[in-house]
Amino acid sequence: MKKIAFILFLAFNISQAQGIKIKGSDTVLPLGQKEAEAFNKKSNANVSVTGGGSGVGISSLVDGTTDIAASSRKIKMDEKMRLQEAGKKFKEIVVARDALTVIVHPENKVSQLTREQLEGIFTGKIKNWKEVGGADLKIVVYSRETSSGTYEFFKEIVLKRKNFSSSVLAMPATGAIVQSVSQTKGAIGYVGLAYLDKSTKAIKVSFDQGKTYTESNLQTAKAGTYPIVRPLFFYYLTKDETRVKALVDYILSPVGQTLAEKSGYISAK
């Protein structure tokens, strides 16, 4: 009898200790893992993080198979409506930010571009580097997949919601863009700040018709002078707020935000 009671007690405890699940964007994944690891150590909690994509994360939130959906894009209207249909109210918080850098082949002479020039290049109106002050070389545009949050953000900010040219090369991962740009002379692409290295050259951009060109780095992104910075989101249901509050507060605390910066992100505020 005692044994059974003990087992019941254990089972009850395990179900109580069932941790918080975070699921979604692969861009947010490394951040989520770092934060979860530190939070688990600090408050003896059980937070687990998985990837799969922003869409997967949000649909899991609708289905109730995750507690927090991580997303590198804002929740879409039809996803919002599906949550509404299910009678679920949700909250959105910005956990960190990410800066996108435009990169070219290291031998490219061009080192700065305006937003209008970038728009021309990515929509296919500008086809040769000599049109923007470079060598007589065809521009090869590398982009991310159409459904990635990175793609949508770049489209919104740099292309002013115009569509990319059909002939851009869509790469499955940011690492693949870095690899391809480093081995293609006329290449241009965009990657997260954390992916910058010596194999490619970062371009200074101007969002004021060429008056000032800004380099992308942690300082300019944080100061708000670098324009291509996007927020990264956590979505959770209002009814779970008490459960996830401690974790969210930890991520937004100075300790959590320093951790985000160490992993190559920019703090939320």
């Binding site: 799969g52 994509g53 922003s54 869409g55 997967v56 949000i58 649909s59 609708v62 879409k76 209207m77 039809d78 996803e79 409506m81 599906r82 929509t123 070389l137 065809k138 090869v140 997949e145 159409t146 459904s147 990635s148 949050g149 793609y151 949508e152 919104e156 919601r161 115009k162 569509n163 059909s166 002939s167 851009v168 090369l169 869509a170 790469m171 499955p172 693949a176 690899q179 391809s180 081995q183 293609t184 002379k185 006329g186």
Partner: protein
């Protein structure tokens, strides 16, 4: 007595497992098609939105392609799309907060209808989108009719913009052509190599060496496709770029080469087995008639092993047409119709693999990807049936 029942039980187990396999395959196909067909009932406007213009605007309906070009700012006047002489203005829904304060829009966006009515009265030449739930008594404007997705549009449009807002375009023609091109190239490269290698291994090579070569080739089949893809991106893509003096190395040819390498183990092992299974008496008969070794292989052994070679080809094509990850990494994935092997292409499996994870569950884009899956399924089934049919009818 017990033995008899035991035997019956064993047979029943065999029957059950084959039943389960069949039912599972059937269910997967039903699942695939149930989503894939739903796609054609959707509108190409983002779910939950409508396109609106001012009441005085004579435009009644617009095609999805024209609408997409309007929102890409490719037109400046309404008469270019069949309207009056006025200039064309666009209001993106996301820009609404630039014109109205938060109180005017409402905390739950409940006053959007009034805001858009106000905007349209000030800008009678504007076109914009509005959430369908906001079309209420406070809203005055004309809803533009947009045709739902048609079967013919999907197969003739050449633009694949599945996430474009507010109008998404789902033209899958470039991807069908891309898939067929890459698979065709792969088979053309892999078959001669594979069959030659199999003949050499089965007929000419000393069995001492074959003992080592065959497991090595079979090992190739066990390498994950991501590894092939990465190898392709880092090694084959630059080689193609330098050899053909191209601007981009990510081409259909790169995909074909990688797929050929991946299909080789299947083709070699099955062909080799088929050749091994040719009875020795047949070979001896041929040799005793004075035929040389080469003549024996070409005119006796190969025709005898024909069915095995066809199976190898079908399985090889299956591997090539359905491969995702390796192709995704080396073909560049531009959704344009290629006119040579030296251009970037986008294949159906690569598109599904790259986009399914991020597409909102159950949405139009999600269903479009299932439609692509259905097409892929029909392709490989068609090829299977065709090859089976032709090989059987010749026997």
């Amino acid at each position: 007595m017990i033995k008899k029942y035991f035997e019956k039980l064993q047979i029943a187990l065999l029957a059950i497992s084959s039943m389960i396999t069949t039912v599972t395959i059937f269910l997967i196909v039903v699942f695939l098609f149930s989503y894939g067909i739903k796609f054609f009932t959707n509108s190409s406007i983002e779910k939950g939105y409508d396109i609106v213009v001012h009441e005085s605007n004579p435009i009644q309906k617009l095609s999805p392609v024209i609408l997409q070009q309007i929102f890409d700012q490719e037109y400046t006047f309404w008469h270019e799309v069949g309207g009056n002489q006025d200039s064309l203005e666009i209001l993106h829904f996301e820009d609404l907060p630039n014109y109205y304060t938060e109180e005017q829009i409402g905390a739950e966006f409940e006053l959007v209808g009034a805001c858009i009515t106000d905007y349209l009265s000030k800008h009678p030449n504007a076109i914009t989108i509005i959430p369908s739930i906001n079309i209420d008594s406070s809203f005055k404007g004309k809803i533009v009719e947009v045709a739902s997705i048609k079967f013919t549009d999907v197969f003739t449009t050449q633009k694949w913009f599945p996430t474009s807002k507010p109008i998404a375009l789902f033209g899958i023609l470039p991807m069908i052509i891309g898939t067929l091109l890459v698979s065709f190239g792969a088979i053309v490269l892999a078959l001669p190599f594979g069959i030659a290698c199999a003949i050499y291994m089965a007929e000419i090579m000393k069995s001492r060496w074959r003992k080592y070569l065959k497991p090595t080739i079979e090992l190739l089949a066990g390498i994950p496709s991501v590894v092939y893809g990465f190898f392709g991106l880092v090694v084959i893509v630059p080689i193609i770029k330098n050899v053909f003096q191209l601007e981009v190395g990510e081409t259909a040819l790169a995909g074909s080469i990688i797929l050929a390498i991946m299909a080789l183990p299947t083709i070699i092992t099955i062909t080799e087995d088929a050749i091994q299974n040719v009875p020795n008496s047949v070979r001896e008969a041929s040799l005793s008639l004075g035929a040389s070794k080469w003549q024996t292989i070409l005119y006796v052994v190969l025709p005898f092993a024909k069915n095995g070679i066809i199976t190898a080809t079908v399985l090889g094509i299956g591997r090539a047409i359905g491969e995702t990850m390796a192709v995704l990494m080396v073909t560049g994935n531009s959704a344009i119709i290629p006119n040579s092997f030296l251009q970037p292409v986008r294949t159906i499996p690569a598109t599904i693999a790259a986009e399914l994870g991020e597409a909102p569950f159950g949405g139009t884009h999600f269903q479009a990807l299932f439609t692509l899956g259905c097409i892929l399924f029909l392709f490989s089934m068609g090829i299977n049936l065709y090859v089976n049919y032709t090989s059987r009818s010749k026997n």
